[in-house]
């Protein structure tokens, strides 16, 4: 089987994000980057399938600037076999639609039986790219999977997806696209040997022209949405303790909730 995982390099969740003066981007200086945690679930699941079925190739695909190669190599260290890097200045400022267009064009060039994405990227947070890629490739999709089992025919699979308060069990054809929910698996540590071996694994670069796309279809030009302003959430005000005898304090609290906080 050939499994393609879409992975995104995102700022480390521990980093304090600052917004640049133009209010369209986050500031890039001093940020450390990681593979989006949900995409690690995708790679882990692909590796578990490979261990179970044997004779499987796990391919990781990312769109991003030059530094995103490091994210591909992090996945190699976990055990992924090969990588594709969609890298071109023309891809800058892609929205989810342009991102999905680019990813879908690349995946068409790769032989695949299954695509696994994260449920959402922890920076952009839209949860749209996986679904859009599936639509553009015209294949079935199952979002937020919690469990999967590929049937012996390797043409269908049984997949559990999370619902509010329960799980839904689906049978789905392959090729299809799944997105991963937290709880699906525990991503493994890369081994030190895996880290040593990453330089030997192949990364193929794809530019706009390699994908047979025009610059108008990708990046800012190919985007259907436009970021007009980016701003941090307002700082949380400190809590207040209402003092006094319980009876008085409760009255005061009710008054504050109605008149100041306007929640009741």
């Amino acid at each position: 089987m050939n499994i393609v995982c879409c992975i995104k390099q995102v700022p480390d969740t521990a980093t304090v994000i600052k917004i640049d003066p133009e209010e369209k981007h986050i500031q890039r200086e001093g940020i450390t980057y990681i593979v989006s945690p949900y995409d690690e679930f995708a790679v882990e699941e692909a590796l578990q399938i490979k261990e179970k079925l044997g004779d499987t190739t796990v391919t990781v695909v990312t769109m991003g600037p030059e530094r995103a190669k490091e994210a591909l190599r992090q996945c190699f260290a976990m055990g992924a076999d090969e990588g594709y890097h969609l890298v071109d200045d023309a891809f800058d400022d892609s929205d989810t639609y342009a991102t999905a267009t680019t990813l879908a064009a690349a995946i068409k060039k790769i032989d695949f039986d299954l695509i696994i994405c994260g449920k959402h990227a922890v920076d952009g947070d839209t949860s749209q790219v996986g679904a859009q890629v599936a639509e553009l490739l015209d294949i079935p999709q199952v979002s937020m999977i919690m469990k999967e089992e590929i049937n012996d025919d390797k043409k269908t699979a049984v997949v559990n997806r999370q619902l509010e308060g329960g799980e839904e069990v689906l049978e789905v054809q392959l090729p299809s696209l799944w997105t991963c929910q937290k709880g699906l698996n525990e991503p493994r540590y890369p081994t030190l040997k895996g880290i040593m071996g990453t330089k030997k694994k192949p990364i193929t670069d794809f530019t706009v022209s390699d994908l047979g796309l025009s610059p108008e279809e990708v990046g800012l030009l190919g985007s259907k949405t436009d970021v007009s302003k980016m701003y941090p959430p307002p700082p949380r005000l400190p809590g207040r303790i209402v003092e006094g005898e319980p009876e008085e304090a409760v009255k005061e609290l009710a008054k504050l909730l109605r008149e100041e906080a306007k929640v009741i």
Partner: protein
């Protein structure tokens, strides 16, 4: 002068940092209280390849040099130092002599097992009558046919109670001593006449085990000698050059943790109506810590890199060992002072780091002995 950490080593640093955060820190009290490294942590370290970081690739290791391992050991120092100490034996101290002086068949026989962590190693030099004065060892080996018969007693030997393979320094010619009268032997666990003695109880360094090694008519084949007859003192000294770098890398990590904890605590702890970080007395301690950590890290990076290039770094290793061990004691002391009474309590790891740091001015050659080495080198080499 390019100080960029190569990408693969950076990834190993990241992995080590993550391992410390997720696997070690939540259990540091357990390691301390039980005085041992839990089996499952050892198992994970084996699976991830931590036992063979520095062993050359042809013997099943990763062949990462001293610089890479030092950078990883800085991270391990930020967790519980028992782990870095334990791994350091299999990443150098336990086999460096064998690698530099031993025969090919000896390396083939042992190094792959050392790299996988299936063979736990120890380094046996110190004896009751021979600490700083290592050449005064009394344990001796006498030739009988194709064998040597060893008699004597080592003490304070790390991994002593659990080691599968010990490199032991013994006297083979009383008249010559350090000048060709000491030889090194590989002794396997279970060899008749060899057993670990009493396990020592200690002030700190919990989770690591030291014991006596007792040799009573212990017969080893002559083929277990490392190098030639009389090479033993060289075997020991060249091992210590590298050990002084990699083991003390852990001290840099311990000091960094002291600094980071102190910084966070000083910002949070309010006295006289403001965070104590606003008092200059506290700021100076933070500044001193950060400066000394930076200095020791630069010494380490430079000396470790030069060692990897094949340079002789005896003087630099001694300088780093001296500076880093004294530095971590000062940092632990300042961290305890900044935390006040809280720093003295077992709830925080600072009192533990304070005890653990103290060892480093003794082990692998005391501070006084490092000064002797440095001075001797200055007077000889200029």
């Amino acid at each position: 002068m390019d100080f960029t950490i190569p990408e693969d080593i950076k990834h190993m640093q990241d992995l080590t940092r993550r391992f410390v955060k997720e696997e070690v820190l939540p259990r540091e009290e357990e390691i301390e209280e039980r005085d041992e490294i839990p089996e499952d942590i050892v198992k994970k370290l084996k699976e991830l390849g931590f036992f063979g970081v520095t062993i050359p690739k042809e013997y099943g290791g990763l062949g990462i040099g001293t610089l890479g391992w030092s950078i990883m050991n800085i991270e391990l120092g930020k967790g519980h130092p028992a782990i870095g100490g334990f791994l350091s034996l299999n990443n150098g101290t336990g086999w460096r002599g064998l690698y530099l002086y031993g025969r090919e068949d000896q390396k083939q026989k042992y190094l792959p097992g050392v790299a996988s962590g299936d063979i736990i190693t120890a380094f046996g030099l110190t004896e009751p009558e021979a600490g700083s004065d290592a050449a005064n060892i009394q344990t001796h080996a006498d030739k009988e046919g194709d064998n040597y018969v060893i008699n004597g007693r080592k003490h304070f030997i790390s991994n002593g109670p659990i080691a599968d393979l010990v490199t032991v320094m013994v006297v083979t010619d009383k008249a010559k001593r350090a000048r060709g009268g000491i030889s090194a032997f590989l002794v396997e666990k279970g060899t008749s006449g060899f057993r670990p003695g009493q396990t020592h109880r200690k002030m700190g360094n919990k989770g690591a085990q030291q014991s006596e090694l007792i040799f009573e008519d212990c017969v080893v084949p002559a083929s277990n000698m490392v190098g030639q007859l009389g090479d033993g003192f060289k075997v020991a000294m060249c091992t210590l050059d590298e050990t002084r770098l990699t083991v003390l890398a852990g001290a840099v990590g311990m000091a960094e943790r002291c600094m980071e904890m102190s910084r966070d605590y000083a910002k949070m702890r309010v006295q006289f109506g403001k965070p104590i970080a606003e008092f200059q007395a506290i700021q100076w301690m933070l500044a001193d810590m950060a400066t000394e950590i930076y200095a020791s890290k630069m010494m380490l990076y430079n000396a470790a890199w030069r060692y990897d290039q094949g340079e002789r770094i005896t003087r630099e290793a001694a300088m780093f060992k001296l500076y880093a061990s004294e530095m971590v004691c000062r940092c632990a002391d300042r961290a305890l002072q900044i935390h006040g009474g809280m720093g003295y309590m077992k709830e925080l790891p600072i009192e533990r780091i304070y005890r653990d740091a103290r060892l480093l001015r003794i082990v692998d050659g005391t501070s006084e002995i490092q000064k002797l080495i440095i001075a001797k080198d200055i007077l000889k080499e200029g």
